[in-house]
Structures are given as structure tokens and as C-alpha cells.
């Protein structure tokens, strides 16, 4: 059975988000999957209905609720420790091209990303650095260090190996590169400010 066709949760979401009811696909579902489909629909409608009628004002938490919040805080710290233990050092993530390609769906321009990764851009904006650090989930300092590079190989000193290409030192102005790229307008506007 095709997993994308018969995923009951996806069928339910399609109905909720777009009003699409694929009866052919629903016919294919087993009885367990049908249960799952209807559970999903029922639960979504119950929660959304409940949420639409709640009071807009936050409530003061009683002592039971405060105890629950405290236990949730320690749950978070536990989850954080577990995920930190299995995580590599952030600075080791960056030099890999794959790291940059992971954010391609957001920036929608592989060529621009490759130029970023090769550090052949000058005048990278602070906003851009901040956003990229957020997207990649690394500290801003690590990203800045990465762009500054080792002594002798930072932006201004990138070697231009292609002799036939324009003699611009292999470095392109960030603003020009961004303007030419397919990066979403939201980013272009934000990064060219200031």
C-alpha cells in the first residue's frame, strides 16, 4: 500500500486545511486506519472549538498548576541535556556544504548558498548573519568566525582560480549577489536595510 496515499493523518489534515476529501483514498483504509482518521478529525474539531471560546485573559495559576509548571521545567532541562549530549560542537557543523544545503528550502537559491559557503562575498550584513545563525541553529559568533576564516584566507584573500573570469578578486559584493539571487523578498528587504 502506498504510504502517502493511505496516511490517515494526512487525509484528515487535507480535509481540515483545504477541504479536500479523497474518498477513493479513504476507501483504501483499513478499519484501524479509519479509526485513526476519525480520531484525528474529532480531536482537531474538539480542540479548535474549545480554543475558539476560551477567555482571552491568562489565569493565575494555583499551587497545583505551579507544581506542574516546575516539573515541566525540569522535564525541559532533562530533554536539553539528552539532546546536548548527542550533539556535535556547533563550530564543527559549519564547514560542511550539507549544512548550508539544509536551509535551501528556505532561501530557495542553491547558487547563492554555495557562494555564501565559499565565502566569496564581501560586506555581509549583520541582519543576514543573525538570520543565518538562526536558520542553522548555531551561535552568531561561530558564524562570524567562520566567515572571517583563518588568517590569510578570509573574504578579501580568496584566490581566484578561474583566470578567464572577471578580475574581481573572486569576491562579489554581498548586496549585488543578493539582488541577483532568488532568495525570498522578505530576506532581501531585511538584509539590505541598514
Amino acid at each position: 500500500m502506498n504510504p502517502t496515499l493511505s496516511n490517515p493523518n494526512k487525509l484528515a489534515e487535507d480535509f481540515i486545511s483545504y477541504g479536500i476529501w479523497d474518498s477513493a483514498a479513504v476507501d483504501q483504509l483499513s478499519s484501524t486506519e479509519l479509526d485513526e482518521l476519525f480520531d484525528h478529525l474529532v480531536a482537531r474539531s474538539i480542540v479548535e472549538t474549545a480554543a475558539s471560546s476560551i477567555s482571552p485573559n491568562p489565569e493565575v495559576l494555583d499551587s497545583d498548576a505551579q507544581a506542574a509548571v516546575l516539573s515541566l521545567q525540569s522535564f525541559y532541562l532533562g530533554a536539553l541535556n539528552r539532546s546536548r549530549a548527542s550533539r556535535p560542537d556547533p563550530s564543527s557543523k559549519l564547514p560542511k556544504a550539507a549544512t548550508w544545503l539544509a536551509i535551501e528550502p528556505v532561501l530557495r537559491d542553491r547558487d547563492f548558498l554555495i557562494r555564501l559557503a565559499q565565502r566569496r562575498l564581501s560586506g555581509l550584513g549583520a541582519r543576514c548573519a543573525r538570520d543565518l545563525a538562526d536558520l542553522l541553529g548555531v551561535p552568531k559568533q561561530v558564524l562570524e568566525d567562520y566567515f572571517a576564516g583563518q588568517a590569510g584566507e578570509n573574504l578579501a584573500f580568496v584566490e581566484n582560480r578561474n583566470v578567464g573570469k572577471p578580475q574581481d578578486g573572486g569576491v562579489e559584493d554581498f548586496a549585488t549577489a543578493l539582488a541577483r539571487s532568488d532568495v525570498p523578498d522578505a530576506f532581501k528587504r531585511r538584509w539590505l536595510e541598514a
Binding site: E36, A43, S55, L61, V69, D134
Partner: protein, 238 residues
């Protein structure tokens, strides 16, 4: 989450999150804590929870763990309050399950991911989705439990419960049909179906104290009712 991530094409911060993130660049950490505690979204300085998620992750990756943890405490309190209000109408046992499961999913995703995800775009919508996922799993668990019961031979009582139900239904039908006043019907059910004795001064309660009628009246009624039942049985048998 994986399913959503593959569909996501434009997962960057919406303008209201960008504005909040720009605004906090210029303020001190004490001011930031104070701003994060503002709950009224119409007040100036209010930080949307979506932006707070990003701020927490930023401080965390930048190594400012103490500040990050203080902000997490505020975010958890607000998110908990929201989920609790959404599930206020649920049955008590279900409510706690839904709240716990929703919050734990949220906190795991908050802890494990450093990059931008949907929590930084549509925070409350994500909470509601996690809550409805938790609720759907709960319905599934309830269903599974009831399905298991029918297979379980240990729960058989050789039809005792069913027989008791049938006797009760027959007597109620009899009372409805043969007794004229509401008071007699009530007394009939108490005398013939109830567990209480007519008169027992030692016991915590009895029918004399419950109904306020003298012992002799109740005893006579019980005899009458028994006679009526016997007559009805003879009538049916003949």
C-alpha cells in the same frame, strides 16, 4: 514534524516576530525578562511567544544558559496556562493527560531543535495541534481498552449483572403500570429494590428515617406490594 518540514518552503520569521527580535537587540537582560512577563498582547513591550522561542534558542546556542532558562520558565508558564484553558472543558482525567502530553512534546521540540521551526512562526496553532494529536491518541487508547474488555473472559459473571438489570427493569415497569401515585411508585422502588432495611435503629440509615413514614405503614405497603406482584405472576402464568 518530519512530514511538516518537508512541506515547509518558507519557514522564516513572520514580520511580527522580526519586529520583536529587532526590538530586543537594544535592551538589557533585566528589561528583557520584564518584557517577557507581560501577558497582555496589547501592551507595549509584549514579546510574542513565537519570538520568545527564538530568543531562548539564541541565548542557549550563544551559551547564555541562565538567561535562557529564566525565559523558558516564563514561556512554559504561559504555554501551560494556554493549554489548560483550551482543555478546561475536557473530562478531568483526560485533561491532565492531554496537557502533559502536549507540553512534553512542545518542550522536547524546543530542546532538541536549534534552527527555525513552526514554533517560531505560529506558536499557539502549534500548541493546539499538539493538543489535538494528544487527544486523538487518547481516544485511540480508550478505544483499545474497551476492545480488550470484550475479549477478556475474566470479566464474565455468568450473567448475574444482566439478570439483576432485567429484574430491576421488570419491577420498574410493573410499578409504572400498576401503581397510581408517584409516592407509591417511589416507595415501591425503595422497598422492593433498595438495600435499606425498613427499621434498623443501629444502622446509619433506614427507610423510616429516610421517608419519614411510620414503620407499620411501610411494613403494610411492603406486604401489599408483594401480594400485587404474586397476583401479577399468577395472572401471567395462567
Amino acid at each position: 514534524m518530519d512530514e511538516e518540514n518537508t512541506e515547509a518552503v518558507e519557514l522564516y520569521h513572520p514580520p511580527f516576530v522580526v519586529r520583536a527580535l529587532d526590538w530586543i537587540e537594544g535592551i538589557s537582560s533585566e528589561q528583557l525578562i520584564a518584557a517577557a512577563q507581560i501577558k497582555d498582547q496589547n501592551k507595549s513591550g509584549f514579546i510574542p511567544p513565537a519570538a520568545l522561542v527564538r530568543i531562548i534558542r539564541r541565548f542557549r546556542t550563544d551559551g547564555k544558559l541562565e538567561l535562557s532558562d529564566r525565559l523558558v520558565a516564563i514561556l512554559i508558564t504561559n504555554a501551560y496556562d494556554y493549554v489548560r484553558r483550551v482543555s478546561a472543558g475536557f473530562e478531568v482525567g483526560d485533561r491532565e493527560d492531554v496537557i502533559q502530553e502536549t507540553m512534553q512534546t512542545f518542550l522536547t521540540e524546543l530542546a532538541e531543535n536549534d534552527g527555525i521551526d513552526w514554533w517560531e512562526v505560529t506558536f499557539h496553532r502549534e500548541l493546539r495541534r499538539r493538543a489535538s494529536d494528544a487527544y486523538a491518541r487518547l481516544i485511540g487508547r480508550h478505544r483499545k481498552r474497551s476492545a480488550e474488555l470484550t475479549d477478556d473472559q475474566e470479566f464474565s459473571d455468568d450473567g448475574e449483572a444482566a439478570a439483576a438489570l432485567q429484574i430491576r427493569a421488570t419491577l420498574v415497569a410493573f410499578a409504572d403500570k400498576r401503581l397510581k401515585t408517584e409516592e407509591h411508585r417511589r416507595l415501591f422502588l425503595l422497598l422492593m429494590l433498595g438495600d435499606l432495611p425498613i427499621d434498623a435503629p443501629e444502622a446509619p440509615n433506614d427507610l423510616v428515617r429516610l421517608t419519614g413514614k411510620p414503620r407499620s405503614t411501610l411494613a403494610n405497603l411492603k406486604t401489599d406490594f408483594t401480594r400485587m406482584l404474586k397476583a401479577a405472576l399468577v395472572e401471567k402464568a395462567s
